[in-house]
């Protein structure tokens, strides 16, 4: 029942080799669980499959990163040779002249990529947490990302069948949590994290602040406590 963990290291200590790990964040430092990612790098679990919007933009390019700050993101795990596959919508640097670690590994044939349109990616994660094994979507129809996928017409428009996405762990950045696990996020940092906590075996949430039960307005809870397994803060 106790969800509050004493350290980031302890909170990630059972992430096993070969695990599927969802990583929150849009790509910048906001909404990215940087201390949990650092702990996972130190922990060293290998052969991870990462589900994440990007495959390392902040650590390389400063995407969404405050001037003068260094960022920890999925790139940190890739640099440390812990990742074998990435499921993402925005895996590489927008500039072909400044490539990220993911792309280097990919070019060497040492990394698998499942490229997914951003809205399909998050809807697949949402489906994984909502007991919906598959759904039809118009996104990607007629493109190379729909190759081999089942197609069906609804209302005169083609759609493709997409499948739910789940994970063993999710590393998520929140803003404030109470000790039961009720969670709020700040600004645009709900993004993928608020969905990933729902579709994972164990959700591990890094927050700026842990407060007493009752200190979060029940109308303001973005993630109800049942989706949160572990909470850790500095």
């Amino acid at each position: 029942m106790e969800k509050l963990y004493a350290s980031f290291d302890e909170a990630v200590s059972d992430i096993f080799d070969g695990a599927v790990v969802m990583v929150s964040g849009f790509g910048g430092t906001g909404g990215t669980a940087q201390k949990l990612l650092l702990a996972l790098r130190n922990h060293g679990a290998k052969d991870l499959t990462i589900v994440s919007n990007t495959a390392g933009l902040a650590s390389l390019l400063g995407f969404g990163t405050l001037p003068g700050h260094t960022a920890i993101d999925v790139g940190t795990l890739i640099d440390n040779d812990q990742v074998i596959k990435v499921i993402a919508s925005y895996p590489v640097s927008p500039s072909p002249s400044k490539i990220n670690s993911f792309e280097s590994y990919f070019r060497k044939g040492k990394m698998e990529l499942e490229l997914v349109p951003q809205g399909t990616l998050v809807e697949r994660i949402r489906a994984g947490g909502a007991g919906i094994p598959a759904f039809f979507t118009p996104t990607g129809v007629g493109t190379q990302l729909s190759e081999g996928k089942e197609t069906r017409e609804f209302d005169g428009k083609q759609h493709i069948l997409e499948h739910a996405l789940k994970s063993d762990f999710a590393l998520v950045k929140g803003y404030k949590a109470d000790t039961l696990g009720n969670l709020t996020y700040k600004g645009t940092s709900q993004n993928f994290g608020a969905v990933m906590v729902r579709s994972t075996g164990i959700s591990i949430v890094e927050v700026d602040q842990v407060v007493n039960i009752g200190e979060i307005d029940p109308h303001l809870v973005h993630t109800p406590a049942l989706f949160v397994d572990r909470i850790v803060t500095l």
Partner: protein, 220 residues
């Protein structure tokens, strides 16, 4: 040599397409400039895949907040009347047809309105991001781009040779020399940049353009 309109003017022309009350999603590059040129008296709500509706202008130096970014990772200013939401809701808005207009950049647009804007085949890997969702879900897709590529190749083509973002999704193309609408019968040249004749524009366009009855000079 004929003069080409600067990026800001392309953005101004696109901005005229935005109606009062429209919910608008702006892509990277020229599209992102449109918000500065919305005609007075019209209120437009900006939506970003990062999970915000109705955001303010770019943040000033020293005022950046990494919990308030747009889909390009740029820092935004907060404004009264904003709302925040997670990515599943952000894309439910897009896919569900709640975005009135999206303005996107393009590598190629075909005669039928097919859009290619996410991957250069030469690189072999690309970022799809939210582009396919916007192409499939927004009520109206406007492309804002230079008329030809840096190498001089036409970007308005008979058939896209680059990987598609979405088939038959573009309804209007605004470039540095022309405004072209995508109709059932083909591409219709509506407006031209000052000094440009239809044949000059045709020279830089692969498919045959249909000339509107009332071709005008691009006005702002």
């Amino acid at each position: 040599m004929l003069g080409r309109l600067p990026r800001e003017v392309i953005a101004m022309r696109v901005a005229r397409e935005l109606k009062d009350g429209d919910v608008v999603n702006l892509g990277l590059g020229i599209p992102s400039l449109c918000s500065q040129y919305v005609p007075e008296g019209r209120t437009v709500f900006y939506h970003s895949e990062s999970g915000v509706l109705n955001y303010g202008p770019m943040a000033e130096e020293g005022e950046e907040d990494d919990d308030l970014i747009n889909a390009s990772g740029q820092f935004l200013q907060p404004i009264a009347g904003m709302s925040f939401f997670h990515s599943a809701d952000a894309f439910a808005m897009i896919r569900g047809g709640h975005i009135d207009v999206t303005v996107l950049g393009a590598l190629q647009v075909s005669e039928r309105g097919d859009l290619s804007n996410w991957m250069l085949p030469s690189r072999g890997i690309g970022n799809v991001g939210g582009a396919m969702d916007l192409a499939a879900g927004a009520k109206r897709v406007i492309v804002a781009m230079e008329h030809i590529g840096r190498n001089g190749d036409p970007k308005i083509v008979s058939e896209c040779t680059f990987p598609l973002t979405g088939p038959r999704c573009v309804s209007l193309i605004v470039t540095d020399i022309a405004v072209i609408s995508v109709e059932k019968e083909g591409l219709v040249l509506r407006e031209t940049a000052p000094g440009w004749e239809p044949r000059d524009i045709q020279n830089e366009t692969e498919p045959q353009l249909i000339l509107a009855d009332d071709i005008k000079e691009i006005a702002l």
